[in-house]
Symmetry: C2
Subunit: 193 residues, 2 copies
DNA sequence: TAAATAAAATGACCATTGGTCAGTTTCATA
DNA sequence: TATGAAACTGACCAATGGTCATTTTATTTA
């Protein structure tokens, strides 16, 4: 049973997350004051400092949460489908995330600009779901021309590539919009694996 | 002839740039106050606001300057050499930049985390040198299997790839250090072109 | 070269923000 | 119902961002 204290605690914490998320998305991180966050969350300022060190602490935790959420969603959706090849599976997975961020541009902006690999590593340790991406690669590697020992590095390269190209084309339309960039991005990934 | 006013003006501005650069590098951007910058630069606070809108304004201009500087240096060095192929030329260019940033990690950290494609576009318009990267691609495209119309997109993809992989491996040693990652990065680029 | 004009530089000043902590409220336990 | 523990509060102060009337410096004009 969850005690009342526990429940209240989570309520305050969650309302802080929700308030910070909305403000970071709509006003930007630099333009959001702690005062804005606690006011929107309906808690006292001191409460903020019970849960978070500063603005960048709640930001880190926020994007860790959001990013593992969307990654997990993409993994689950991918597992539900049947594919002819690993290539097809991988591209489906990446496309799922791209389409998601096409609809949630502000979230992409927030996540991508602040998600360090260090944070991702923490997710990789702490969240079982994240392992699934690697497992997908593990399962599929026989279909590829890749040396066994390069799997992790290649996975990294593909995720970095997909991430940075998607970010630029979705947020900045540079060098072109995402729908124009998708074919060449996918062709590139096919060349890599 | 450069007037005395002009000369003084540039001195103040440059001392602000130099101070901000050193502080951003060593203390971090969030931890650096405008007061710190003007104190280090030896000018009054009001002077700062004559030249820059805020902290992020001087940061933008700083990284635009630093990044076009290193890009230009790499281009000049590459032009001095003779290559057997476009592939060789491109990899030399990228390697030059990687080696530079290996020796200047803090600068890479500052630039990469804050260089938006928007800023790069401005450099692309304003600085002739930046065009040279595209020209290198233009000259070399006959050596590749790429369709003519995909040159710009491919250039973009390769630069994004090299940039994000280099950043992670140099700064975070993730997923491995840059010397371990280089072979696979270069192989990947070869596959792409 | 001296006076008038223009431009640049200054730093005291105030509003906003980050962060603290003594006191208060809420909850679990005996 | 009393007691102790934990969560919560918001008044408070130090630090920061940004302004602007005044002063200093450079240029132009007479």
């Amino acid at each position: 049973m969850v005690s009342k204290v526990e429940r209240n605690k989570r309520e305050k914490e969650n309302s802080l997350y929700a308030a910070a998320y909305e403000l970071f998305i709509n006003k930007g991180i630099n333009e959001t004051a702690i005062n804005d966050i606690v006011k929107k969350a309906g808690v006292a300022k001191g409460t903020f400092y019970l849960y978070f060190k500063d603005k960048y602490d709640i930001l880190d935790k926020l994007i860790l949460d959001k990013s593992s959420q969307i990654l997990n969603e993409a993994i689950v959706e991918t597992r539900l489908k049947v594919f002819q090849s690993f290539e097809e599976e991988l591209l489906y997975f990446i496309d799922y995330i791209i389409e998601y961020f096409k609809e949630n541009k502000l979230m992409l902006k927030l996540i991508y600009k602040n998600l360090s690999w260090g944070i991702f590593k923490k997710a990789y340790r702490d969240y079982d779901e994240i392992h699934e991406i690697y497992n997908m690669f593990e399962r599929g590697y026989e279909d590829t021309s890749l040396p066994r020992e390069d799997i992790e590095k290649t996975l990294f390269i593909i995720l970095e590539l997909a991430g940075s190209v998607s970010y630029s084309s979705i947020i900045l339309n540079e060098p072109d919009n995402i729908d124009e960039m998708k074919p060449i991005l996918f062709d590139t990934i096919k060349k890599i694996i």
